[in-house]
Every structure is written in C-alpha cells, then in structure tokens.
C-alpha cells in the first residue's frame, strides 16, 4: 500500500516522438504551485531597476580565465566546438529578419502543427509561452522580435552524461548544442514555410535566462541545482527558444512536485564538490528558489571537466521523473538516495568519493577573476595601490592600454551559458 496520498497526476508526452504518454503521480506533501512561487510585482521591479545581463558579458573576466586552466583535451575540444557552432550562431543572429516563404492557413492549428514537427525533428520537450522580457538580457532586449516563445529542449546523451566529470560528458554537453543549433534553424525554416516569421535564439548566444520561460510553458520546474528538471531528462537537456508571430496557444505551468521534492532530496546539495549549492530556498528577484553560489561553482567547473556532479547525482536526471515520483508515493523516500551508484563519483586527481565524502580545496582555489574584464583590470590595479605599491608611469599607461583594448574589442553575448 502506498505511503503517500496522490494529489494529482501529470500526463506528459513520452520521451521520444514514438513513445506513449507517461503519467507522473505527485504526492500531496510535494504539491505546491504550478511552475514556481512568484511575486510578479517583485519580478517587474527587479527587471526594471536591475535588469539581468548575459554571463558572457557580466562574468566575462572568469569566462576568459577558464581557458587558462582547461586541461589540454578540453581546451582543444572547446575550440573545435566554438568553430563548429559559429556559422549556426551567425545564422540565428539574422534569422528574425527573414521573411516567411509560405502563406498562413488560418484553419490549421499552428500550435499543434509546430509541436508535432518539433518532436519529429528530435526535440524532446516542446512548449509555448509569451516571450518574457523580464528575463531578457539588457544587451539583447532590442534584438528580440515577435511575442510568442517556442521553448525547445534536446536531450543530452544518457550514457556519456553518467561519466561526469569527463571529456566524454563534455562532448555530450557541447555536442548537444551543435545538434540543437542546426535543428533550431530547420524548425525556423518550417515555420516560415507555414507563413510566419521565426527568430532563433541560439543555445550558444542566449537572449535571456531561458529557464523561467520553460517553467511557464510547463516543461519542468527549477531544481535545487539551479537547472530545469524536466520530466524525462531532469537537467540532462539543452535549452533554446524560437520567437514567432505565428498565433500560438500558450501552455500552462505545471506542478510536478519538484519545488518540495528538492527540499526532501538534497542529494545535489550534499554531493556538490565546491559546496556551491544551498539547503534553503530564498526569495530572489521575485521568485522563491535555491540560489547557486556562482563563485563556488565556477572554479570547480573550469578545472574538473565541467564538473556537473549536480547533474550526475540528480535522481530525476538518472531515472526520470516518473519512477522517482512513484517511488516517493510508495515509500516516502528518494529513489537512489544514499546509494553508491547514484551518489558516488570519481573526481579525477582527487580520487573516488562515496556518499558522505567530499573533495576539499584550499581558499586560493576559489580566487578567480570576477566581473567584466575592465572591472577586473581596475580591481587588480586598485589592489596594488591599496597595498602601498607605487605605480610607475609605464604601469599606469599599461593599465590604460589594457582597458582600452578590452573596450575596443567590445562585449559579446556569445558563448554557452
């Protein structure tokens, strides 16, 4: 007999196009709200007063620094990846200007037509919502066209992902972006053939924080690891958006039980090598969420093949949401919790870590460049002055010249989030 009462059952399409629907039972004590607890007036306030910006701009100093600590194989792979996706990102950049090639058929259900085509192309999750400018990056707001957002996720290879942290897992991660970038352009072409405009928001040049729109479109909920937990892949998916003027019907947010499940589970929090994940939720920019500590995460990610232990150890990623939620209803327990298979991991030069064990790093390990590149140059220069070091004319000129070089290069939103 089940230990928990079921509050509701979520029905979702199967993992692949040909799979049958799945039913996910949500226990009463996991039930909160569809999507995420939100205070809309606070979201508006923060987006107006403190608009968000791409990490590729705001955190440009550490984004550049990571290349200096990559292992050789990762460095070479990342270079190749950037070369491969460049034409896809270039094409996405101008995709919103292209005119439709067909004529709209107003008797057609264009929402379901696009959903079906996207699934057929290989997108694992497809949902529709309003493009929410509250989450758009400052430097991208004027680029975005068309009001409807098609939220699209491609599943990352299962077997390779379980080898995290490794080059193979990074190939699964970045390789999925390469596939997705091309699929996005194909789907946009299809929408234009149907008589509507379509703008591709590349997964390698995001226009916004995408997760809130995926949650609004009912494709998952935000996990304690700061990632979208979708029904079939958990956080093992790569996200991108197409905006369009096709008259789409919007989907609704769903309560999969994740808001409370992550409070119970906490595996990713317990297993995070950098101690970058937190136990308690906070209200942040108008939503109640687990806030990842970027400065604890980034140094580990950069030096340990993308880390992603939080992805590897998430039961929703490993088993899928249905068995996890069924097990919770049956037993009140988190499937896999405490087990070597789910929680144990090899961490390269640090060795193997079973449940309850974590690698350690000294304080210096976490000292990395932060802010924009010019902020970081200024901060280093200021520190030297504060330490009482005198500055020669040559050093002052060198500082000015470095800042000028950064400013001349300009900012770019390109890069994987």
């Amino acid at each position: 007999m089940a230990l928990k009462s079921v509050d509701h059952v979520v029905v979702r399409p199967g993992r692949t196009f040909s799979d049958k629907d799945v039913e996910i039972p949500v226990a009463e004590d996991l039930t909160t709200v569809p999507g995420i607890p939100i205070r809309h007036e606070d979201v508006s306030f923060y987006s107006r007063m403190y608009p968000i910006e791409s990490q590729n701009v705001e955190k440009a100093a550490d984004r550049e620094w990571v290349w200096t600590v990559y292992e050789d194989d990762i460095y070479e792979y990342r270079e190749r990846h950037d070369e491969l996706v460049k034409p896809l990102v270039d094409a996405a950049m101008v995709s919103g200007d292209l005119e439709p090639t067909g004529t709209p058929d107003f008797d057609m259900n264009i929402t379901e037509d696009i959903r079906s085509k996207a699934r057929e192309l290989g997108f694992g999750e497809v949902g529709f919502t309003r493009y929410d400018f509250h989450y758009a990056y400052s430097s991208k707001k004027s680029w975005v066209r068309y009001e409807h957002a098609i939220c699209l996720a491609v599943e990352q290879d299962y077997v390779m992902t379980q080898t995290i942290p490794s080059l193979a897992a990074e190939q699964a991660h970045f390789g999925t972006y390469e596939i997705e970038g091309a699929l996005m352009l194909d789907l946009a072409d299809y929408i234009r053939e149907r008589g509507y405009h379509a703008q591709v928001h590349s997964p390698n040049d995001n226009s916004a924080a995408f997760i809130p729109m995926f949650v609004a479109a009912g494709l998952g909920q935000l996990g304690a690891n700061g990632q979208l937990l979708s029904p079939h892949f958990g956080s093992r998916s790569r996200l991108a958006i197409i905006t369009t003027d096709a008259p789409l019907n919007h989907d609704e947010p769903v309560d999969y039980g994740i808001n409370n499940f992550c409070k119970e589970c906490q595996i990713c929090v317990n297993r995070c090598p950098g101690r970058a994940l937190v136990r308690e939720k906070i209200w942040w920019r108008g939503v109640e969420k687990f806030k990842v500590i970027y400065e604890r995460c980034r140094p580990v990610m950069a030096r340990y093949s993308g880390c992603a232990i939080c992805v590897k150890t998430c039961p929703v990623q490993r088993y899928g949401m249905k068995p996890v939620m069924e097990h919770y209803v049956d037993t009140g327990e988190v499937l896999g919790k405490g087990s070597e298979n789910l929680e144990g991991y090899d961490f390269q030069d640090k060795g193997h870590f079973s449940p309850g064990e974590l690698p350690s790093f000294d304080k210096k390990f976490f000292e990395i460049p932060h802010g924009t590149k010019e902020d970081w140059l200024f901060e280093q220069f200021k520190s030297r002055l504060e330490e009482g070091n005198s500055t020669s004319d040559f050093e002052a000129m060198e500082f000015v010249s470095n800042v000028k070089e950064v400013l001349d290069k300009g900012k770019t939103t390109r890069g994987d989030e």
Partner: protein, 74 residues
C-alpha cells in the same frame, strides 16, 4: 532513514550494492552489449534496476538481462 535507524525501528534492512559490485555490473554490461542497439536502454535499466534493488524493491519492469546481471554480482 538509514539502515541503522531501520534496524532499530524493527524495519527490514536492505543491503545496497557497493562500488566493486557496481563496477563489475557495468563492466560486464559494456563488454557484452556496447555494440548492441539496445545498449543505451540497458544502461538506463541498469541504473533503475540497481536503485530498485538498493531500495529493497522487486525488479519488475526491468529488462531480464539486467536482473540477471544484478543477481550475478549482488
């Protein structure tokens, strides 16, 4: 609830698979099936089957090849 608390509460204690057993299961799986089209399905089922085994659950709906592997190395 961990095994010690379960034992003290008079509940059934389940033994979880350990690292060496897990390595053996996945090594055997890879050696026998890596080139088979079912390989990904089998790896998925292996993880789920091991989780069910560790939880003391029946291995229903798990591929028989995985059930055999778990029984071989448990």
């Amino acid at each position: 609830m961990n095994n010690e608390s379960k034992f003290l509460a008079g509940l059934r204690v389940t033994l979880m698979l350990e690292r060496l057993q897990l390595d053996a299961i996945f090594k055997d799986l890879e050696g026998s099936w890596v080139d088979h089209p079912d390989y990904e399905h089998l790896v998925r089922d292996a993880h789920l089957g091991i989780a069910y085994f560790d939880a003391g659950k029946e291995l229903v709906d798990i591929d028989q090849r995985i059930v055999d592997l778990i029984n071989k190395f448990k």
